[in-house]
Amino acid sequence: MLLTIGMLGILSLIFGLLLGYTSVRFKVEGNPIIEQINSHLPQMQCGKCSYIGCHPYAEAIANNEVAINQCLPGGESTMLALARFLDREPIPLEAPEEVVPTKLLAIIDETACIGCTKCIQACPVDAILGAPKWMHTVIAQECTGCELCVIVCPVDCIKMAPVPATLSRWKWPHPSQI
């Protein structure tokens, strides 16, 4: 167990360094407006806006092809941030019942996993570690909760669970809620 954690730790460190390096070395020179819009999006890459990721949605917003209320995971605050940044009218979200989206995390039942690697191919942020025919596991820190891995798993062994409450994530509530 310790060994696995250690190995995963080292692996994620290596990937992290590689990532930092490549992000500087191969920096994409995009349209600055699109990049700024993108920087207001939650980067879950879940596709719930009906684009295949946050960046394509940002492009579509920049081209005035789509409304600014399509990102459900970002919720009202993302919509308001976009409205402010683009100086557009705020529009209510289409799923008002889920006002405060709870953050989720994918968990793989490692005893049931058959090592098919399908989830790795689906994960937009490379948050799953594993090799063919070996059990797979989610790097909790990197998982954005996009749920894309859940449907592709042939043995249904991936579940979404709320990110556990910890002291470091706890927030003082609004005074009216005490």
Partner: protein, 482 residues
């Protein structure tokens, strides 16, 4: 010695009479000790014992990562009595969230048997770094309530003044008062050890509020001129680090500075005694003095409590009255309400205020702010509390930050004088938490974006490589035959 003033401040009823007349007595040894892995500000410790292990009093059971605290903001946890480790799991911790956090549970064997302790016979002959390491291994953190690991504060260079904070300005708390009266010698010698550990600070001042004359007298008698003992006026929040520095030196610690950057380090009274005990007797931090007070107990009292002792048992020893309703950890102004007393006493538990049902009438409902400005007059940081309140309530967090929200020390002076009974500190805490969480979220999103871009790049490259291989095999048909 000349004294200065800080802006604002308020005069409060101390309620210290309740508990400061009798000496500190040891609390009973409990059946189970619950020791959370995080009892300080910084990184949590990691258990180095396993369920079933026998442990001795004073033995390290959870250590800093890699058993090396010198580069970390962390401090080891020791077994506070001898016994058997019966569980290592998540237990409720004393925190307003009512959440659980990992900890070690020891079933005590009643023998209270010490492990072998190593004292430093003559610390003056040892280099400062070695004494500091000894203090780190003893698990000492700021015992005034903040819990910042003391050895980190002792790492500072070029310290000119060491201040020992005996102000104890918060209502109800009397543990430092009793310690100064009963152990003045240990405190003075502890101060000298700290001075040595800081590479020989020029000045060493112990500041005591003038509502504690006995403590002041005891310290003066014990100091014999070795350390300067200063009486300062009683005013809340004099015990705040920055406020105390201003009173004693007229120096202001800048916005993003720590006191060490202007050559000053402040340590608490009980911390100083803990350092004395760790160096001269090798005794690690396994107990602390806790004031148990309030109208909910028959006999308010200061106890020397083994860390990890359930609050419930200590309250029982004071004569628990029926119908207890409120429990506050800390002082009357900045203390935090706890959901239950089934929680362990940890390194930062300096005071428990127990209240009965109906003792405090429910606070009157808040009224709109009338812009009277009373709050601004008492703010020790010279902020504009009503402006901050407007911004925080309207979720205009950027503006709140521009008005120095993060300089607010949550002292509660503004809310205390507010005629509209607004929960001002509640709004500041809420806003600070939201701002911190948003920053953390932004950082995580940025990382996710980078990872996603990296992945897209990888997919493009893999496609190209595949295409290239394909090309190659087409032009080289011989190679594809096997």
């Amino acid at each position: 010695m000349r004294l200065w003033q800080f802006h604002g401040g308020i005069h409060l009823t101390g309620h210290k009479d309740l508990s400061n007349h009798t000496g500190i007595i040891p609390a009973k040894l409990p059946k189970f000790l619950i020791l959370p892995l995080l009892q300080h500000i910084g990184e949590p410790t990691e258990p180095i014992v396993r369920v079933g292990d026998k442990v001795l009093k004073g033995q390290i059971i959870a250590h800093c990562f890699g058993s090396d605290c010198s580069l970390m903001i962390s401090a080891p946890i020791h077994a506070s009595s001898s016994g058997t480790v019966v569980a290592i799991d998540a237990r409720p911790v004393p925190h307003p969230s009512a959440l659980s956090a990992p900890g070690i549970v020891i079933e005590t064997d009643g023998e209270d048997r010490w492990t072998e302790l190593t004292a430093i016979p003559d610390y003056t002959r040892l280099p400062a770094a070695q004494v500091r390491e000894h203090i780190a291994q003893a698990g000492i953190v700021g015992l005034g309530g903040a819990g910042f690991p003391s050895h980190v504060k002792l790492r500072s260079k070029d310290i000119d003044t060491l201040i020992i904070n005996g102000a104890e300005c918060e209502p109800y708390i009397t543990c430092d008062d009793r310690l100064m009266r009963e152990y003045p010698q240990e405190i003075i010698e502890g101060a000298e050890i700290l001075k040595h550990t800081l590479g020989g600070a020029q000045h060493c001042i112990i500041a005591v509020e003038d509502n504690k004359p006995e403590a002041y007298q005891a310290l003066v008698a014990a100091a014999q001129g070795r350390v300067e003992v200063i009486k300062i006026p009683t005013l809340y929040p004099t015990g705040g680090e920055r406020q105390l520095i201003q009173i004693l030196t007229n120096k202001e610690v800048g916005r993003f500075q720590i006191p060490a950057s202007i050559g000053i380090v402040v340590h608490n009274i009980e911390t100083t005694r803990a350092v004395y005990r760790a160096v001269t007797a090798g005794r690690p931090l396994i107990s602390r003095v806790v004031t148990v007070t309030g109208t909910g107990v028959e006999k308010p009292q200061n106890f020397e409590v083994l860390l990890g002792t359930p609050m419930r048992e200590v309250i029982d020893q004071c004569g628990r009255k029926p119908n207890l309703e409120t429990l506050i950890m800390g002082g009357g102004m900045m203390g935090l309400a706890l959901p239950s007393d089934d929680l362990p006493i940890i390194k930062t538990t300096n005071c428990l205020i127990v209240g009965q049902v109906g003792e405090l009438p429910p606070p009157p409902p808040p009224l709109p702010c009338i812009r009277c400005g009373a709050c601004a007059q008492v703010c020790p940081i010279n902020l504009l509390p009503q402006q901050l309140y407007w911004y925080c309530a309207a979720k205009e967090f950027k503006k709140a930050q521009a008005h120095s929200l993060f300089e607010c020390i949550d002292c509660g002076c503004c809310a205390y004088v507010c005629p509209s009974h607004l929960d001002l500190v509640g709004y500041y805490r809420y806003a600070k938490a939201e701002i911190r969480a948003a920053a953390a979220e932004r950082k995580a999103a940025d990382q996710a974006r980078q990872r996603h871009e990296f992945r897209l790049m990888r997919l493009v490259r893999e496609k190209q490589e595949k295409a290239a291989r394909h090309q190659k095999s087409k032009s080289n048909p011989d190679l594809t035959t096997f």
